[in-house]
Amino acid sequence: MKPEQKTVLVPRHSLMTRLTHWINAICLGVLLLSGLQIFNAWPNLYWGQVGADSDHAFLSIGASHGQGAPQGVLRVGDATIPTTGVLGVSSVDGQAVERAFPAWLTLPSFQDLAEGRRWHFFFAWCFVVNGAAYLAYSLLSGHLRRDLVPARAQLAPGHLWHEIVAHARLRFPKGEAARRYNVLQKLSYLGVAVVLLPVMVLTGLTMSPGMNAVAPFLLDLFGGRQSARAIHFITASLLVLFVLVHLAMVLLSGVWNNLRSMITGRYAIEESTIHHD
């Protein structure tokens, strides 16, 4: 008898998960870029119901006009961070232009709030329909409970710490352990699917005066329209952070295997088999 390593393809992601994952990726990309276009029309964030020129913005992106060419600055609280070239002042066709986010980060690239809104709201509908389909499927099929909700043992501090250290050392689960999501994957996917993305939808709706008449409690939930706008921006930033870490993990833990699993549904794992001679 001797153990032998064998690669097997195991079913990883259902068709519904794969389909909604990619549609979601496209929607979030368009929503982010058109969202930055919309932000550029008024690049200041406030807390509370209101906020306009005389009110205190806790974050603003702008240009300072001292001597010489305007300089791009990001102001957060009392801090002023020079950001010329990226935020506040950036180059459009070789010309330095005053705009909060640069042309390569906005949709459309040139300043056009009306068109940015059209992209944003069309893809917001796609995103909501897709997300609702995913959540309904995940609840009904048991995907949420079976694959995403961590088991009690996984949440033990010792286990959590072990996983964090292993990830930091870029040691990813192999063999049998790779069949299921590890606890860090579960928590981050669950956090994105049931917390961050729903918060994006709700804060987005809170900014709509039409929806304020339908659901005034949303204004109270988020502390006002301008607070909702700020939370929308902050949550979007957290999603960008998630995507960066997600892409890094995909690259580091076997990019082709991960991509295949999200496209064909099959994931390769190394399996030890025992042969009886």
Partner: protein, 258 residues
Amino acid sequence: MTDKHITRRRFLLGGALGAGAMALAGCDAGADSKTGKLLRSAESLTMSAQRRLQGRQALAREYTEADISPRFRVNGTSMPDSQVYADLLGKRFVDWRLKVDGLVAKPMEFSLAALKLMPARTQITRHDCVEGWSAIGKWTGVPLAEILRATGLLPTARYAVFHCADELETTLDGSGRYYESIDLVDAFHPQTILAYGMNGKDLSVGHGAPLRLRVERQLGYKQAKYLMRIQLVDSLKDFWGGNGGYWEDRGYEWYAGI
């Protein structure tokens, strides 16, 4: 088995990338392109969804005196640049008349004094600019429904078009003149008022003296200032760009509830 997998993978990947590329290829496409039209289809979806959820009577939030913004931003025109307006302002609007005509049973004209004698409504509401800022103000005025009850409506009337005294863009053909429109659902909404007062005083020039529209469930650009005439119509096609408003003709949504 492997071949089949590759084909299926290529197909799925191709589909995902194709949709992304399509989205990006149309990036800088104008409103009239195919992409522009597709994107615009979301507007009617938004409007029908919000209208269904709102019903006719759902109210915009009303705030308290303490919430009123100490400084309410003056946006768009701050002083209409015309001799007609200057003359009206010079005489404190005693010669100003609001003309209400079009598909009404009885065309009428209202002086500012006459409007102030009509039933009034005061509301403290939040003004949300499409750009992203908000301010709270107290508005006093006549419900538009009162005016329309006085004039009566012909059965074909579908929209109220608001003609303003200001030109936001100076053009040779006059297409830079500000105008707006709402449908009858909003026209008869209890919070839709023609405001002559703001924060307990007469409306200032910067905020649209002598009269401005308040449609509280929509964005700032619907709140037309410097009202001169309200025309009841069955279609918005015949006005300037045909989209029902100054900003609408420049690409913004006619339904500004979002």
